[in-house]
Amino acid sequence: MSDVLAQLVAAVLTIMSASTPLLLAATGELVTEKSGVLNLGLEGMMLVGAVVGFATAVTSGNPWLGVGAGVLAGACMSLIFAVLVLQFLANQVATGLALAIFGTGLSALMGAKYVGHAVTALPHLRLPILSELPVVGTILFGQDPLIYVSFLILAATSWFLHRSHAGLVLRAVGESHDAAHAIGYRVIFVRYLATLYGGAMSGLAGAYMSLAYSPSWSEGMTAGRGWIALALVVFATWRPARLLLGAYLFGAITILQLYIQGWGWPLPSQFLTMLPYLATIVVLVLISANRAKVRLNAPACLGKPFGASG
């Protein structure tokens, strides 16, 4: 009995850890998209965040410094994107793809000498008494702090978007940049901030992977999570609360795959590795098929450049 329970607790812990990078990256992208900017380069930003975070943690010996560096690196990557699409009015889809390709190459170059290195992982929370409670103790009070931070970020983001004035401005910019501009809001400035926030969150997601989830660095270690996070934003129909559901669903699928392998089912491991990608397609189809719902919730100016005016 207690054996099964212990296994269950372990499963919940790994699922939470696997879901956190998806949740973080998707939360950031949601804000970016709400402002009308479609940044497809999440994968590249996550990878650079992961490698910079890892390298910083290895050289400084402090994983928290690594997390900070990862956030900064992600923001820097998104700044390249922002300048190109906001200042140079470049095609957002193409620029996002360029960012993904560039980030993959850059992270591989920067990380070449860190492959196989060990790092001090983020410490887990240890609260007196609370963390030692049976079952719920480790789940609620004994994980790495970034998991709790990811919930806080999601809640804060949700509050910001739907309960604050600044969030209202951001959404207005995403719905109709011409109207927002006419009222006097600084469309480009708002989009810069929203894009940088998205980059910072992707960087954080990457740093989480290399400092808490894995914790190690290997080339292309995000394995498509940046793209899955993009799909999650559609899945959530641009509503933060539903991101939580999506991220944990995909985290569970990722972990389920490992468990099935452990149970010794005769299914080749490659087919299990396909699962999250196939699930992304299925989920995307289920949500998108309801055209009205997607059109109602998608920011109306998503992906459209705001003309050069002065």
Partner: protein, 360 residues
């Protein structure tokens, strides 16, 4: 001083062609800086990376070999991108083409028939098309974004390939390496120029450029693709059927990517392994943009990006530089290209002092 963008009112023909050239020059400048940062002599590195492969007589034919898959895929993608159909899963369609065509060769591994190769080519094209048909169906029937579905299918295709070469298709005499048996001669593309690796596939690429150009500039379909990309509402008003054009774009792109995959495994690779592409399907996206989404431009762009792969290999050996540098250059090239494209639609005005009566 302030910098102002002034709409030209029409596209600048000069900058449509000048922008890629400027982007390449800027990329070379940044490349020199990156070399310096890596502690290498920039001049010597640039020479090794970008000039040496052109000067060396044995390396030059390799340029055509490397450009072949890039051009094939790039032509297909450029037609689709024109219609705003963002098929970014060409890498997966390439893989499926290799699996379908290569699988046929493995299945008939003791056939010496002259019909085997044509059958493999057809299988490769169909394999790529089938993989691209999935995002086409999901987009037209269920409104699912083809960017994400085609990309997800790339990961699926890679896993499928790994499964096949470590599982049922593994070479029984391969000492456990993840690879199939080598293709027999009848399943290998003939060499066109003796002493080089220039194979029949190079002709396929040239043919694709010619046909792509014909379709785009001379056919009604090409016209519809262009209109739907530039003015979707006008296209709908004119009665162009959007789903049909989406299907067409994806099937064309997928078929050519599948062909590229088959050609690659039936020539330079010579078997199915887990390493059949250094990311050709993704690089071809850059090729398509650098070539101005025009098949003839794609040919030149393919050669330039092929040089980046070749230079990367030389630099890896001679300068001990990681191969990842290639990806960085490719990304930077696309960044610069997208930025320079601003010049096609806008004039950049630098005003040294505030003009009288300037807008606030």
């Amino acid at each position: 001083m302030r910098i102002r963008l002034e709409p030209r009112g029409q596209q600048s023909a000069l900058w449509a062609y000048g922008s890629p050239v400027l982007a390449v020059i800027l990329t070379l400048i940044v490349a020199a800086v990156i070399f310096a940062l890596l502690g290498k002599n920039p001049g010597h590195s640039l020479y090794t990376y970008f000039i040496a492969p052109l000067v060396n007589a044995t390396a030059r034919p390799e340029l055509l070999v490397k450009a072949t898959p890039l051009v094939l895929i790039g032509v297909g993608l450029s037609l689709g991108f024109r219609a705003n159909v963002w098929n970014i899963g060409a890498e997966g369609q390439y893989t499926l083409g290799a699996i379908a065509g290569g699988g046929l060769a493995l299945w008939l591994h003791d056939s010496e028939s002259h019909l085997l190769l044509p059958a493999m080519v057809i299988a490769g094209v169909l394999g790529g098309m089938a993989w691209a048909a999935i995002p086409a169906l999901l987009r037209t029937r269920f409104n699912a974004n083809e960017i994400l579905t085609s990309l997800m299918l790339t990961y699926v295709a890679q896993q499928l390939l790994i499964y096949l070469v470590v599982g049922p298709w593994k070479d029984p005499e391969g000492y456990g390496f993840p690879q199939s048996r080598l293709f027999q001669e009848a399943a290998t593309l003939p060499i066109l120029v003796p002493g080089t690796r220039i194979h029949l596939g190079v002709l396929f690429a040239l043919l694709a450029v010619g046909l792509g150009w014909l379709v785009l500039s001379k056919s009604a379909i090409g016209f519809q693709l262009k209109v739907i990309g530039l003015a979707p509402r006008a296209a709908r008003y004119a009665g162009f059927k959007e789903p049909r054009l989406i299907w067409l774009s994806l099937l064309l792109g997928g078929g050519l990517a599948g062909l590229a995959g088959l050609i690659e495994v039936a020539s330079t690779v010579g078997q199915l392994t887990t390493q059949i592409s250094p990311g050709y399907g993704f690089t071809a996206i850059i090729v398509a943009f650098l070539g101005r989404l025009n098949p003839v431009g794609v040919l030149f762009a393919g050669l330039i990006l092929a040089l980046s792969y070749l230079g990367g290999e030389v630099a890896q050996i001679e300068l001990a530089m990681p191969s990842a540098v290639t990806g960085i250059f490719q990304g930077i090239l696309l960044f610069f290209l997208l930025a320079c494209d601003l010049l096609i639609l806008y004039r950049v005005k630098i005003e040294w002092r505030e003009a009288v009566g300037a807008r606030p």
